[in-house]
Symmetry: C3
Subunit: 264 residues, 3 copies
């Protein structure tokens, strides 16, 4: 099957090309995100200051904008980076962490969503909030199922001309017309902070090597979900899951990817 074959080829391309991924992300997950990008073969950098953020985006192969611990100075850096990304053609991913929880967060996520991200990756509640279709997000947890919000995601993707990836028990990826579903993953992953943020960062790394954003997002979510499954099989809890996840991302081989990728 072409698509499943594509997962391995995208992963191999990330490993071969080591794309430089520029992250403007939250304090909680910076370390995890950098380590996950390194484990998968990419080259991460975290740069946010107004004084240099645009210069850095211009030399990157992909950009992540994650509003997890946003503040006005950081949002200013995000907007400068996004403007450069648009100008020089660097694909970027928006992670609207906690959109819906406060007015400031929802408004900022909405403004960024209209600036041309290649992919918006969030849980169901965050995607609904970005779409203006939901009022309340309880922290960064999903309180809606990904299925419920799929229709909203399709409309959002169509109206913004972007790809929306809703992650949850099943992940859905859509550009408004195509819809792909990924069934890889494990429940224990939700007990490790920043797993969604890691997903967004891997999507960015894959966008650097796969120009079709539906495929890039799908491949990245298969790789993370599969790594999480394999890691969970050898874990006693969320502490060991984190360790094994990085090891598996680093060692994942073609046979395993082909045998276990679950894309519909």
């Amino acid at each position: 099957m072409e698509l499943i074959s594509g997962v391995w080829e995208s992963l191999k391309a990330v490993r071969d090309r080591a794309p430089l991924v520029h992250n403007i992300t939250n304090y909680v997950v910076m370390n995890n995100t950098a380590n996950a990008l390194l484990a998968v073969g990419a080259s991460p950098a975290m740069v946010h200051a107004r004084e240099e953020v645009a210069d850095f985006t211009a030399i990157a192969q992909a950009l992540v904008v994650n509003i997890g611990t946003l503040s006005p100075e950081w949002v200013e850096g995000m907007k400068l980076a996004v403007a450069t990304a648009r100008r020089v053609g660097v694909p970027w991913v928006l992670d609207p962490v906690g959109a819906g929880a406060t007015r400031y967060r929802t408004t900022t996520a909405g403004e960024l969503a209209r600036q041309g991200p290649a992919v918006i990756r969030g849980n169901a509640s965050e995607v609904l909030a970005v779409a203006g279709a939901a009022g309340f997000t309880r922290g960064v947890d999903s309180t809606r199922s990904s299925e419920e919000s799929l229709e909203v995601a399709r409309e959002l993707a169509t109206s913004l001309g972007t790809v929306v990836a809703i992650t949850g028990r099943t992940d859905y990826i859509t550009d408004g017309s195509r819809v792909l579903a990924v069934d890889n993953g494990h429940a224990l992953m939700a007990r490790v902070t920043g797993m969604g943020c890691t997903a967004s960062a891997l999507v960015a790394a894959f966008l650097a090597v796969e120009p079709d954003a539906v495929l890039a997002a799908t491949h990245a979510l298969v790789v993370l979900g599969l790594a999480g499954e394999l890691a969970a099989e050898r874990s006693q809890g969320p502490g060991s899951l984190q360790l094994h996840l990085l090891d598996v991302l680093y060692t994942l081989d073609e046979a395993t990817v082909r045998a276990r990728a679950r894309v519909r």
Copy 2:
């Protein structure tokens, strides 16, 4: 024994209700804190900006204010969150990290301590500094024993109408009249950064389900100390301790809690 039974019941209540714990904490430990809260069953969020911090406190079940890497902008966010917590009745924990080390830190800790925290959790030197009884704290390490500062803690608790928890080899929890002591814990825990910050965050999670702040703090410190002991038994050093601690927090069962909680 009623109290020991209470440890398990509090832990079970955290797991069942998954309280949303709002953390305004330091950069060093955000990741650990979030993971410890997730492992114990709570729902963590890190939000600090003036633009949204009060809105977020209003939807939380507990708040942590930790001054580890303070700056004026963050202190402003802390004060806005605390004002909301008081207004809407959200219990909050003050962690006066490094109080006594610099004038700025000591002054800020003192100001916050007078704003009605349900619990102040620190090591002996920090508690002494908050009480204005000590001049010098060497970084974030305790240079006084918890026993030496217990009397000061009792006076501080009485005068502020709060609960003070001094953590060390033995942890003491007091509201000025009652004094409880927790003997769980392991020396290797002091070799992992942010263990005190994790303690404060767990106290907040337990406050969300146990309104008696002496009991909430005691139960949380038993759970963390016990998890640290069990983790240390299977660890070769501070790296493996961190991993096992999260696994144990996630899997800790009733029989183990009843058999090994050591509260006086």
Copy 3:
């Protein structure tokens, strides 16, 4: 051999004296850095605000200035800390993370380099950028070999009156006249974020106990490289490497240090 003996003695002195190491470092690595310093026996603290940074440097035994996620407010804190370090005689280490990648970063690194650091620790590209000899650094990865930049490092060390440590497959440490080379280390270490930042922090801890900055830097890099080698032998990937590295730093004994230190 005198020097190899010195590695163990420096490590033992760090463990015995537990020097307070003041870090002004980047968000990505704060947790790793603190944990590595604790594992090796030092006492870490992260303090950056203008309101207290000078007060804190004055009570520290060593200072680290790391520009990984710099911004104007943080650079102001760095300069205040450095001024105090010079005045009271606290040795400090400059880690010019990503120098060469943007003009702001290169300029800031250059300004700090002229303020009298005891040691500048970077990869080859960063050292070249600080020296004004290179234009482009690709993120925080080294794109030049350490050998190529050794001559530039010698000139930089001589002209600034400092010690320059270039880390890579082989680490070189020079004050302009002496040149030492460390062959410890393992390729997998490059797949864990912040390993260079950890190196800089350990150099600071060793400077607190060994006044000869060439020896302090060399001993610290041997200890980290050796710990990385031993950790890699029992690791399946970068996740387990991180865990084992902290365990090995904590347990490293004299016999192992004497048998495996590789200094030329």
